[in-house]
């Protein structure tokens, strides 16, 4: 039997109602996680950003502009879709998708870049910088920069540039400069180091648009707030369509912005189970993966305390995932906190399982998920199979798979 939940019209539960409503604290801590671990030079710009964001979020004109952009430029609200054939194949609960893949530029990333770019413009910054892994956040940043007439520089690991050549070209067409990062592992974490170095040197005119719910405060909470539109819409749409809330939420977790965006508005709904899916790569036991919540330990990187993949000497480990967007050794601090307090459950899915889900979803639903989102689909199939047909699993279809053609072909031993 499914849990019966009466329709709930609250969209913003009162602060302080639950432990997670009190986070982050004034210093950006989610329990023991988060905070601001940066070089002193960045403290002033972070203070400036936190002040500007606190002002903007209560400014009606700013919020009206944001909502108008989300509607007319991004294409919100994104649909809620019943994946009937996938549900039937899984055999169990009904699987529904929140269609972030239908957002402008093809992924949820744009929800956040629209918000941060408007804030940058409001603060009088003329230049924006970003880090990118799969290139989706880079494209989303280049897109809003083009629209607002801001100079845009995107840092991208040279290994990721190879894997995501089409996105590199998209960013260049949008007028952004893509700077290859050759240090360290040449992936997302190194791109973030390089963006932080750029910001330190250009704090006066530059706004750093971080693409995920990590980094120093106020980024984790600010990015969550901009992405929470996903869960707010999904919660409302579920109530309108099904007159109830889902039994379980499933989203992939790299840094974790699409996941927190879906989860956050449901945190108070105790009967809604929450599952975050990390990149299991070749399998957790092989060490070749990108699943800090599944196998890592608490540490400090990129401005916040969180679960990290690290060795016994506190050096950050290289990661592996078929999905460039999940290829990151850390995770947003709020996820670390939700794991520790038991509000969310974190699991992992291997490259092979994600690829299989990618192909199945493509063939039987006609929806080609991003390889990141395919991790969520893979776990949702497994989860649904353990549930009953009157239960509902809501998956965040965080992005579309067009960008992943060469990775998928390569995995199949084909060349395009």
């Amino acid at each position: 039997m499914s849990t019966t939940i009466s329709p709930d019209t609250r969209s913003h539960p009162a602060p302080g109602e639950h432990a997670w409503r009190d986070t982050p604290d004034g210093r950006g801590h989610f329990g023991p996680y988060g905070g601001r671990f940066v070089a002193e030079t960045l403290m002033a710009p972070l203070d400036e950003l936190a002040r500007a964001y606190d002002e903007a979020r209560v400014d009606e004109a700013f919020m009206a502009r944001l909502h108008a952009d989300l509607a007319d430029f991004v294409g919100r609200p994104t649909p809620l879709y019943h994946a009937e054939r996938l549900s039937e194949k899984a055999g169990g609960a009904q699987i529904w998708f929140k269609r972030e893949d239908l957002s402008h530029t093809g992924a949820h990333k744009i929800n956040n870049t629209v918000g941060q770019a408007l804030l940058a413009a409001r603060m009088g910054k003329t230049r924006v910088i970003a880090e990118t892994g799969a290139g989706q956040h880079g494209v989303a940043t280049a897109t809003v920069a083009a629209r607002l007439g801001l100079t845009c520089v995107v840092y991208m690991g040279s290994e990721d540039m190879r894997r995501q050549a089409t996105n590199v070209y998209r960013m260049r067409l949008l007028g952004a400069e893509v700077r290859p990062v050759d240090s360290g592992s040449k992936t997302l974490k190194d791109a973030m180091n390089e963006a932080l170095r750029d910001w330190v040197a250009n704090v006066d005119d530059t706004f750093y648009i971080i693409g995920t719910v990590a980094g120093p405060a106020p980024y984790p909470a600010m990015v969550r707030d901009f992405q929470a539109v996903i869960g707010q819409e999904a919660r409302r749409q579920m109530q309108e369509r099904l007159k109830r809330l889902p039994d379980a939420l499933v989203a992939c977790v790299g840094g974790g912005s699409n996941a927190i965006g879906l989860f956050y508005p449901f945190l108070d709904d105790k009967d809604v189970a929450i599952h975050g899916v990390e990149a299991g790569g070749d399998g957790i036991e092989t060490g070749r993966h990108a699943a800090p919540l599944s196998s890592g330990r608490s540490g400090v990187l990129h401005g916040n305390r969180t679960y990290l993949m690290q060795d016994d000497n506190g050096q950050i480990l290289g990661t592996h995932s078929i999905s460039a967007g999940l290829d990151y050794p850390g995770v947003g601090p709020e996820h670390s906190w939700l794991k520790d307090i038991g509000r969310a459950n974190y699991v992992s899915v291997t490259d092979a399982e994600a690829l299989d889900a990618f192909h199945e979803c493509t063939r039987i639903e006609g929806i080609m998920p991003a390889l990141e989102s395919a991790h969520a689909v893979a776990y949702a199939r497994k989860l649904a199979a353990t549930m009953s047909p009157d239960q509902v699993v809501l998956v965040n279809m965080s992005g579309r798979g067009d960008k992943d053609m060469s990775s998928v072909a390569e995995a199949a031993g084909e060349t395009l």
Binding site: M43, S183, A201, G314
Partner: protein, 284 residues
């Protein structure tokens, strides 16, 4: 009183500016560092900053990033860095050593384990680049219990209110970052420096060392006219990078580079003291 305080007091009495070279420990290999440290002392170092290599040195420029990568490729760990300091102490009981690095390796070792081991190895101060004044309460009691001075950064972007907050808990010396950027990136604007560090003087009696961008003896002399210490990093690390296969040549170049800075600083110090004596004479 630890070696840092003793050393800065002695320098102040003699009217001398501290010369503070930085090296990344374990670069290019774990056996090189102790010899380099002794060479730096012989060339006139007053304090040594020893960088603990980290995979993600986000406040460092390409020169020190590459040094970190070389050191890590050779298996340098925080534990290994502490043994280097202990080995250095076998022949040098006087020169203060400050560890400079990022928080994660310390956090992973465990703060109290680290502090105890650092004290036992002969470390005098610790500068954790990514632990700001807001997060410092997490580390200060343990550092203090082990008599390790918390050396703190102040940047051109630091407000006067923050300067006061940082100086309230800082120890050893203040490390003033001379420009907005990463290590080794820009060049020094010595003219602005006096104005920039003036607000620190009004709230703290701690000596002020200035780093980031000191490349030449002229830079070092210019900094010595306004600051109490001159920190030199990337230019020395470059000398090592230029001589990866020849440790003897690297040592010789390190000594020559630092020695030239020592001479320039001493000449500037002598000139300052002469001016000072003249002023005193006129007053008398």
């Amino acid at each position: 009183m630890n070696r840092l305080d003793t050393r800065f007091d002695a320098l102040r009495q003699r009217g001398r500016t501290a010369l503070i070279p930085y090296l990344t420990a374990g670069d290019p290999g774990p056996d090189a560092t102790v010899g380099f440290m002794h060479g730096l002392v012989e060339a006139g170092a007053d304090v040594i900053e020893l960088g603990v290599p980290f995979t993600d040195p986000m406040a460092d420029g390409p020169v020190i990033q590459a040094a970190c990568e070389r050191a890590l490729a050779n298996g340098t760990s925080l534990k290994g860095v502490l043994s280097m300091v202990a080995q250095f102490r076998e022949r040098d009981a006087e020169t203060p050593v400050v560890l400079m690095g990022y928080y994660n390796p310390i956090d992973r070792m465990g703060l109290s384990t680290f502090c105890e081991a650092a004290r036992n190895s002969g470390v005098d101060g610790v500068l954790i680049v990514d632990v700001t004044a807001e997060e410092a309460p997490e580390v200060l009691p343990e550092l203090s219990a082990a008599a390790l001075s918390p050396v703190c950064l102040i940047a051109p972007t630091t407000s006067e209110a923050r300067i006061a907050k940082i100086c309230a808990h800082a120890g050893g010396y203040i490390y003033y970052v001379s420009f907005k950027g990463v290590t080794g990136a820009s060049s020094l604007d010595a003219d602005r420096l006096a104005d920039q560090i003036a607000p620190i003087r009004t709230v703290s009696a701690l000596p002020i060392g200035v780093g980031f961008g000191v490349r030449t003896p002229t830079d070092a002399a210019a900094v010595s006219r306004v600051a109490d210490g001159v920190v030199v990093g990337s230019v020395l690390v470059s000398r090592i990078a230029d001589n990866l296969d020849d440790p003897a040549a690297a040592t010789a170049e390190l000594r020559a580079t630092l020695g030239a800075m020592r001479d320039a600083i001493d000449a500037a110090d002598d000139e300052q003291r002469k001016i000072h004596r003249q002023e005193e004479g006129e007053r008398a």
